[in-house]
């Protein structure tokens, strides 16, 4: 019976449990509740995936009010893909948080952490599933506000400034999005995204309100995505946040923002308006290429490994936007697959860094010298995640690269393919610096006592690493669903 209500359940379970955590207050209880909530949410998302594959688009009317009047939860291939990413990463990271230093830092307020974590999860899930534009904004703010809190939990005081910076930038971005939604409502009189897309042609594509809405939306979403050159907040935020939080946010938050962009640009505005009437593709491509290169190069010069990964995230976002800018089913498939794969690899890498931080209290490349001898399993996991990031065959990263290059060649833009390849080679440089330090340098004396990370940190990290390999070999789910989603997005125009 509950099966019919899955779309609502996957978001209200984390919500209710977030409140429960606050009421229960005990660390262990809160942990149990959070764990169950994330797992239930993940299970629900998987069931939704099965349903969406079998039945096509699932529409759920909140409160029984039919769209476009009521809020509609809408599950198509793209939505469910995001749900799986978010809840999947959420359920791997939740057990990890228990033993990480993070909770010792917040001591008796651990339940607050879990509450914020669940709220963030709820917000991200909500963004991914809702069919209502304004509702999307609300969920976005739920997730953003809780992520500011989570980032501010970092050990370093710079976490506070990073969180503040993110708060300002994030709020501006969200406000831009809400302006866009307002203008759209003004032009069409509807807030339901599908409904808006149907009414837009009547409003006229030349309508300045619509064009202004488009501009606001793209800029707002780009801020949230941390698309180069609006990425300034991201490296700071991910560097200074606790590793648990970095792992969760790096793997999910930017992906959800990319989803917002995809959803609006392709579904709401439509391919015809976004790319044929407005010359959007070229700017996207240029920004994407810049994003692929400049942050990667910056990453090569960082000494804090978390910052290396953060810059790498900005670069990887470039790939997603590149796929979008190609405006083809192949390109979109590449984008969407890369969301999934990038979530896996960055999640894994940040979790590994969490293990290292747990033992040596730093993620500085010099402090990590020779660490592979003390923590072989941890560093092996790092190498595994790194290989995926580089895009070695049999890893998830290879699959995204494969599709992206294929999409570029498909358009006949071989130079773009070359650029993609070159930029991914930069990844070797910045990752290999870390690996060389960890394997070849002599460990400093104070590292002699360091031992392997505890199992409950290692296991989640390894789950994600193994997932990287699994989805590099069996792509039927990851690519299959992404392809469906891409076709739906392109078809909508």
């Amino acid at each position: 019976m509950l099966k019919a209500h899955l779309p609502a359940l996957v978001i209200i379970i984390p919500l209710i449990c977030a409140a429960l955590c606050v009421l229960l207050r005990r660390k262990d209880w809160a942990f149990t509740v959070a764990l169950l909530a994330t797992w239930a949410s993940f299970a629900g998302s998987c069931l939704l995936l099965v349903r969406a594959m079998n039945e096509g688009v699932i529409s759920y009317e909140m409160g029984g009010w039919p769209p476009p009047f009521g809020i509609e939860l809408r599950v198509d291939a793209l939505n469910v893909y995001l749900l799986i990413i978010v809840s999947g990463i959420g359920s791997v990271v939740a057990p990890y948080a228990r033993n990480s230093l993070l909770l010792e830092y917040v001591e008796d307020r651990a339940y607050m952490f879990y509450s914020a974590y669940l709220l963030c999860l709820c917000g991200l899930m909500g963004v991914s599933i809702t069919g209502d534009a304004f509702n999307l904004f609300v969920f976005l703010e739920i997730s953003s506000l809780s992520s500011y809190v989570l980032i501010a939990l970092g050990f370093d005081r710079r976490a506070l400034t990073a969180a503040y910076q993110y708060l300002v930038m994030g709020t501006i971005g969200a406000t831009f999005i809400v302006i866009a939604i307002g203008l759209l409502y003004q032009a069409t009189g509807s807030l339901n995204m599908v409904d808006i897309s149907e009414r837009l042609p009547k409003a006229g594509y030349g309508n300045t309100t619509v064009i202004a809405a488009f501009a606001f939306l793209v800029v707002g979403a780009a801020l949230k995505i941390a698309l180069f050159p609006l990425h300034q907040w991201l490296p700071n935020a991910y560097t200074h946040a606790p590793s648990t939080v970095s792992a969760f946010l790096a793997a999910t938050a930017t992906k959800v923002s990319v989803y917002i962009l995809l959803r609006f640009v392709f579904t709401v505005f439509g391919v015809r308006f976004s790319f044929e009437i407005l010359p959007t593709a070229t700017p996207f491509l240029i920004l994407a290429i810049l994003a692929m290169f400049l942050p990667s190069i910056v990453a090569c010069f960082q000494t804090n490994v978390k910052r290396v990964l953060a810059y790498s995230s900005v670069a990887q976002i470039g790939y997603m936007i590149l796929g979008l800018g190609l405006v083809s089913v192949a390109g979109l498939t590449a984008s969407i697959v890369h969301m999934f794969n990038h979530a896996l690899m960055k999640g894994a890498l940040f979790l590994v860094l969490g293990c290292i931080f747990y033992r040596i209290g730093s993620c500085h490349i010099d402090r990590m010298a020779g660490i592979a001898r003390r923590m072989p399993w941890t560093m092996a996991a790092f190498v595994g995640g790194g290989l995926s990031l580089i895009g070695i065959p049999l890893t998830a990263g290879f699959i995204s690269k494969w599709y992206l290059i294929l999409a570029a060649l498909d358009k006949g833009w071989w130079y773009l393919a070359v650029l993609i390849v070159i930029s991914s080679l930069i990844a070797i440089i910045y990752l290999w610096r870390v690996i060389e330090a960890a394997y070849f340098r002599e460990p400093p004396d104070d590292l002699k006592e360091v031992s392997e990370a505890p199992l409950n940190l290692l296991v989640p990290a390894w789950i994600l690493v193994l997932a990287n390999f699994y989805f590099g070999i069996d792509t039927s789910i990851s690519v299959g669903v992404a392809e469906m989603a891409a076709k739906a997005l392109m078809g909508a125009g």
Binding site: L406, V421, I428, W432, D474
Partner: protein, 511 residues
């Protein structure tokens, strides 16, 4: 009973299972090495089981799974791959024995990791050999690169780190930067990546673009060490000698030229390549590499570095053979993989044996050593003659066929290249042998002092042992080192005698 497909799977899986067993028996060296040898032997037996059906003209197939729609991970055994697999798995057994002697004689650290990576490398080399499409090959090719990285950097010092950077940098950037693009382009153009007799690109791609495509492939396969991307090979010589021997005389570099032949035969199609004339530039590049690398080899005093450049030169024989794209030359090129493998591994084994016994790495220090190590130097001569290409040794046949192919393709200039290169080979290989026997014994003592102001500054354990400097009658390397190198030396001889069988086996690939 197991069928052929199972044996294919076993050949690739056994080394991996061996890896785990080696890991588990890490603290017990004897057990670890027994496991290595047993695994190697079993793997060879499995590979042998695949031989009869292939000789009978079948193409045993094993599809593992669909990675991407229409692109399975698939193993298809054809004669070329069969030959490569046989060589790699057979030489693994020999090398295992040799490695036991060498690694113990040298007291190397991290031996467990060494044997594990070795096994993974062999597994991926076999996967390269058996791969049924370009994707599978690419996957195995990359795994091979990565699994040999820890071997190259085995010593973990700064030199090893630098070498590792060059090694990984060149191999990864070429394979991801060029080969992957070429593969994707092929996939888009032809709609398939299966290795198909006669090629898959014919008529699918503009004649003018064939050159670009060929360029992407040839320089994408960095392991073939075509100049100017050959730097990784000499760099990788910092590895322990068994690694250099097997991986850089057999598995890694041969995987490179093997891929080159595979691409030329099964992706482009020899006829297509010849008709379009797209490979003429490649002939010249390969010819130039043959000569230049030989010249560089003559300047090297470090024996392993000299052998490394010799390898670069010899690899380009195969590339040249492929570029000539006649049926003679391709068979000749394929044979050269085998011939050179045996010849060069013998030479490397000798270099390692000398190093273990006397801690000498430079040719200038080897004066008179032949009297101390007659068996090693004897084998060295056989290996050298085979590489040079003199009968009655295997190398003679492959060069003969490549020359025939050059004549067939009416590229007479390359016959000259082959001749000159043979002379150069003599010039840089025979002196090593000659020094060993003809250098005056008495000078040994004086020569020892020489090395102190030697030119290259290579770190050299030998100088610290004046006690060894006094000439002894015979002080060979450990038996575990000497026996393997004689087996491979005899192999060179055997390959000369049984060359027609090899020819018969390989001929179908160009029919």
């Amino acid at each position: 009973m197991l069928d052929t497909a199972d044996y294919i799977a076993l050949s690739i899986l056994l080394p991996l299972i061996g890896t785990i067993l080696i890991w588990m028996s890490g603290p017990r060296p004897n057990q670890r090495e027994v496991v290595t040898v047993i695994t190697a032997t079993l793997t060879f037996v499995c590979v042998l089981q695949v031989l009869p059906p292939v000789m009978a003209g079948e193409t045993p197939t094993l599809t593992v799974l669909q990675v991407l729609p229409g692109l399975p991970l698939e193993f298809v055994v054809e004669p070329l791959g069969m030959m490569f697999a046989l060589i790699a798995s057979f030489l693994w057994i020999i090398t295992s024995f040799y490695a036991i002697g060498y690694m113990r004689g040298h007291n190397e650290p991290n031996q467990t990791r060494f044997y594990m990576c070795f096994a993974i490398a062999i597994s991926s080399a076999l996967a390269v050999a058996f791969s049924g499409n370009m994707l599978t090959l690419f996957v195995a090719y990359e795994v091979l690169t990565l699994s040999t990285y820890p071997l190259v950097t085995h010593n973990q010092d700064d030199e090893a780190k630098r070498a590792g950077r060059v090694y990984l940098g060149i191999l990864m950037s070429t394979s991801i930067g060029l080969l992957l693009v070429a593969i994707l382009w092929t996939w888009l153009a032809a709609g398939t990546l299966d290795f198909t007799k006669g090629g898959i690109l014919k008529g699918k791609i503009d004649d003018g673009l064939v050159i670009v495509m060929l360029f992407l492939y040839m320089y994408g396969i960095g392991k073939a060490a075509l100049m100017p991307i050959h730097r990784w090979l000499p760099a990788a010589m910092v590895a322990p000698t068994p690694v250099s021997a097997l991986l850089h005389a057999v598995a890694v570099v041969k995987a490179g030229v093997f891929t080159v032949l595979k691409v030329i035969v099964y992706i482009f199609g020899a006829d297509f390549l010849r008709d379009t004339g797209a490979s003429v530039w490649l002939m010249y590049v390969a010819g130039a590499t043959v000569l230049l690398a030989s010249l560089v080899a003559m300047t090297k005093d470090n024996l392993k570095a000299r052998l490394a450049y010799s390898t670069v030169s010899q690899l380009s024989y195969v590339v040249l053979a492929g570029a000539l794209a006649t049926s003679f030359s391709i068979v000749g090129g394929a044979m050269h993989i085998a011939m050179h493998a045996f010849g060069k591994i013998t030479l490397f084994f000798c270099a390692g044996a000398i190093m273990v016994a006397t801690h000498k790495t430079k040719i200038s220090q080897m004066r008179g050593l032949g009297w101390r190590m007659p068996f090693t130097f004897g084998a060295f001569l056989i290996g050298a003659l085979s590489v040079i290409g003199l009968p009655p040794l295997g190398g003679a046949w492959s060069k003969w066929y490549i020359a025939l192919g050059a004549a067939d393709a009416e590229q007479i200039i390359f016959i000259a290249v082959l001749m000159i290169s043979s002379l150069l080979n003599i010039a840089y290989l025979i002196p090593v042998f000659a020094r060993g026997f003809f250098g005056p014994k008495e000078e040994e003592q004086a020569q020892m002092t020489d090395t102190h102001h030697g030119h290259h500054g290579h770190d050299d354990h030998g100088t610290a042992r004046p006690a060894d400097a006094t000439p002894k009658r015979i002080a060979e390397a450990p038996v575990f080192c000497v026996v393997p190198l004689w087996i491979t030396a005899i192999g060179c001889l055997a390959l000369f005698i049984y060359a027609d069988q090899l020819y018969a086996m390989l001929a179908p690939i160009v029919k």
